[in-house]
């Protein structure tokens, strides 16, 4: 979790750039996680695997097939989206009313995916070239990869906002997440909405995986850290809340970067976890969350 981070005494602009970039990536991951939970009531512990799959899909297409970074990005978007949808239809749909089974099966799936990737590509992190070059912004150097990561994630988040708030499908999605029975009564097909959400969540996480892989190397276990962080983010923002997740991502991203820069880089993973426990104990419904009624 620390490849993006330059250890200690970076100047304020660099720190700010890092915060904004990493937060945007975390938001991409957390949004999918929270949508799946909010709409389907399903805790998808295999969400981290999408990150890994995205990164390796990009690695295969851009490096091994030599088609370049953009093709890799597209491949990650499509492959993880499709896989996630197929996973929902093939496995989760049958058991989505049994939360315990869902948690166990998604957890086991995540492990299986990690093992497959480790077996095929080894445990050494892979270099994932996206775009070359660097910029100088406000006196600090920013790599192009960082910039692309930020711009694209911001665009995707904005697109998701627009989709949810201004399209019929999006409104149906919101309705389902608020009350499944109510949505069913007005003729919204929950299963179709669920499929949509799983595909979107997979695609977003896949893209985030490419950027995470490009900035800190792609390895078989790269999905674990972001998955745990998305718990924190989602719980902090309120499970099922989109703006809560974005805000949560920025809080967690800021905390992480500040911890690394000004306290101790070995504490990176600890701060968000402590935040998570504190939030769960003090305000389990999060900043913008609703009381968990049906789980």
């Amino acid at each position: 979790m620390s490849g993006l981070l330059v250890p200690l005494q970076a100047d304020a602009t660099t720190v700010l750039v890092q915060i904004v970039t990493i937060s945007a990536l975390y938001a991409l991951v957390a949004l999918g996680f929270t949508l799946i939970f909010g709409v389907g009531g399903v805790l998808n512990l295999a969400h981290g695997a999408n990150i890994t799959i995205g990164a390796f899909a990009a690695f295969v297409v851009s490096s091994q097939w030599g088609l370049g970074g953009v093709a890799g990005l597209l491949a990650a978007f499509v492959v993880t989206g499709v896989l996630s949808g197929v996973y929902y239809l093939g496995l989760i749909k049958r058991i989505q009313d049994e939360p315990i089974m869902v948690m166990i099966i998604t957890l086991v799936t995540a492990v299986a995916v990690e093992e497959v990737i480790r077996f095929i590509y080894g445990s050494q992190p892979k270099v994932l070239p996206l775009v070359d070059g660097r910029f100088i912004i406000g006196g600090s150097t920013v790599t192009s990869a960082t910039l692309v990561a930020f711009v694209l994630s911001a665009l995707l988040i904005a697109a998701l906002f627009a989709f949810v708030n201004y399209t019929r499908q999006g409104k149906a999605l919101l309705a389902t997440s608020m009350t499944r029975k109510g949505a069913a009564l007005v003729g919204i097909e929950a299963d179709r909405i669920n499929l949509l959400v799983w595909v979107a969540a997979g695609a977003l996480a896949g893209v985030a995986g490419v950027f995470l892989g490009a900035t800190q190397g792609a390895s078989y276990a790269m999905g674990r850290g972001p998955l745990v962080l998305s718990f924190t983010i989602v719980v902090l923002g309120g499970i099922g809340s989109i703006r809560g997740s974005v805000l949560g991502a920025f809080i967690v991203g800021t905390l992480e970067i500040l911890t690394v820069q000004y306290i101790d880089s070995s504490l990176t993973g600890l701060t968000p976890l402590l935040v998570l426990v504190a939030v769960l104990l003090l305000r389990p419904e999060g900043l913008f969350g609703r009381e968990l009624v049906e789980a």
Binding site: M101, L107, V108, A112, V228, D264, S266, G269, L280
Partner: protein
């Protein structure tokens, strides 16, 4: 327990989760334990089992030690089952208790020279305290929220261990502490018998607890917590009890494990993600909420990788030795079994057993006069039904 009226009412509920009482399963259980107990005798004779060239497997001292480790893992799986299988409070970080027990005992032994006889109980007590710490959030949090806390707890511990590597040895762990009662590698059968005795003891204890009135309340909490509260029982009390009991047993298993010649106090052995997942796989595979199933699953998960390594079979198409991808195989087998036998191995075997007996007696049960559905047919039908539901109405 203070609420006696309620417990009596539950007491004559025969169905619940308990299995149909077949004497056959007790016979099978005793035979299983006897086979385990006979292992050291086999080792003295250096018996090889299997087909030469394809599957050769020798019972020897090393295998006894592996079996010992598997027994401790079985105990650990039973402790997971006590809290997660019965009360439904799914714990994703059960390794925390395993680790607290193991590390406490190892640190006391290595740092202060305290004998394992004394350091292990301290490890158990500290693990129980950790059980209270995890149990308290369980009073306020439900379902997925609680699972998140349990998932995060060992991660926090791991971060602390890495941060204070000087004390805890970081990711590499500590060196091995003294063996329990001084039994080392050369006395493998003694080490094994100690483990087997503890295993039987813990299984008896957990079976007693889960079959008692408290155990019935555990199950009731899993099914409907509000209903439990509505009859005047305090679910919080029972949940904490389940967590503390489970943590203490897990701590015992962890502490004993680090003092065997085969186990050591390292994060990868005690509380890595793998351990946390493996214990769930073990319990679910064996049969959640059965204790015995979890024990069988634990031994299975503990032994199968070792057997796979010994077998040395190369998977045909991929050309890979089985031993290299054992954990992946596990995950795939688990996914498959969860789908085919949702109740776990134990329940399926018991059900199959009672069906066979019914057959022999001639009182076939299928209500439509046909034969009972075969497993393959059932799975195929479930998939087909699942596909057909696509266009159907919402069931809510």
């Amino acid at each position: 327990m203070s609420e006696d009226t309620a417990s009596e009412r539950v007491a004559d509920d025969q169905s619940g989760r308990s299995l149909p009482s077949i004497p056959g399963r007790y016979v099978a259980g005793v035979v299983g334990l006897l086979v385990l107990a006979a292992m050291p005798v086999l080792a003295d004779m250096e018996i090889g089992l299997g087909v030469p060239g394809v599957f050769v497997f020798t019972v020897d001292q090393l295998f006894l030690l592996d079996l010992t480790a598997a027994l401790y893992f079985g105990m650990f799986a039973m402790s997971w089952d006590t809290v997660s299988g019965y009360t439904g409070q799914i714990s994703f970080g059960h390794g925390l208790f395993f680790a607290v027990g193991g590390y406490t005992s190892a640190l006391l032994n290595l740092g202060f020279g305290i004998d394992p006889l004394l350091s292990i109980p301290v490890g158990i007590v500290l693990a129980a305290v950790a059980g209270i710490l995890i149990g308290v959030p369980a009073l306020r949090l439900r379902g997925p929220y609680l699972s998140l806390v349990t998932l995060v707890a060992p991660l926090i511990l791991l971060q602390l261990f890495i941060f204070r590597s000087d004390v805890f040895g970081g990711e590499l762990g500590l060196r091995d502490p003294e063996p329990f009662l001084g039994f080392g590698v050369s006395q493998a059968s003694t080490v094994f018998y100690i483990a087997l005795a503890l295993f039987v003891l813990i299984m008896a204890l957990l079976l007693l607890v889960t079959r008692s009135d408290a155990g019935r309340v555990f199950t009731a909490i899993r099914e409907d917590e509000d209903a439990v509260a509505s009859v005047g029982l305090n679910p919080a009390k029972f949940k904490i009890f389940a967590f503390v009991l489970s943590a203490a047993v897990g701590g015992l298993a962890g502490a004993m494990y680090v003092h065997t010649p085969i186990g050591g106090p390292t994060p990868s052995e005690l509380f890595s993600t793998t351990v946390n997942v493996e214990v769930i796989i073990a319990a679910v595979l064996g049969g959640m909420g059965t204790i015995v199933g979890a024990a069988i699953g634990g031994i299975f998960v503990g032994l199968v990788p070792i057997l796979l390594d010994e077998v040395g079979v190369v998977i045909p198409v991929l050309g890979v030795p089985v031993g290299e991808i054992d954990f992946l195989l596990f995950a795939v087998i688990t996914l498959f079994l969860l789908f085919v036998l949702p109740g776990g191995i134990l329940r399926s075997v018991l059900n199959a057993g009672s069906r066979v007996r019914g057959w022999r007696r001639g009182d076939e049960v299928a209500t439509d006069g046909g034969r009972p559905e075969r497993v393959v047919t059932r799975v195929a039908r479930r998939w087909y039904d699942g596909l057909r539901e696509e266009g159907g109405d919402d069931d809510e």
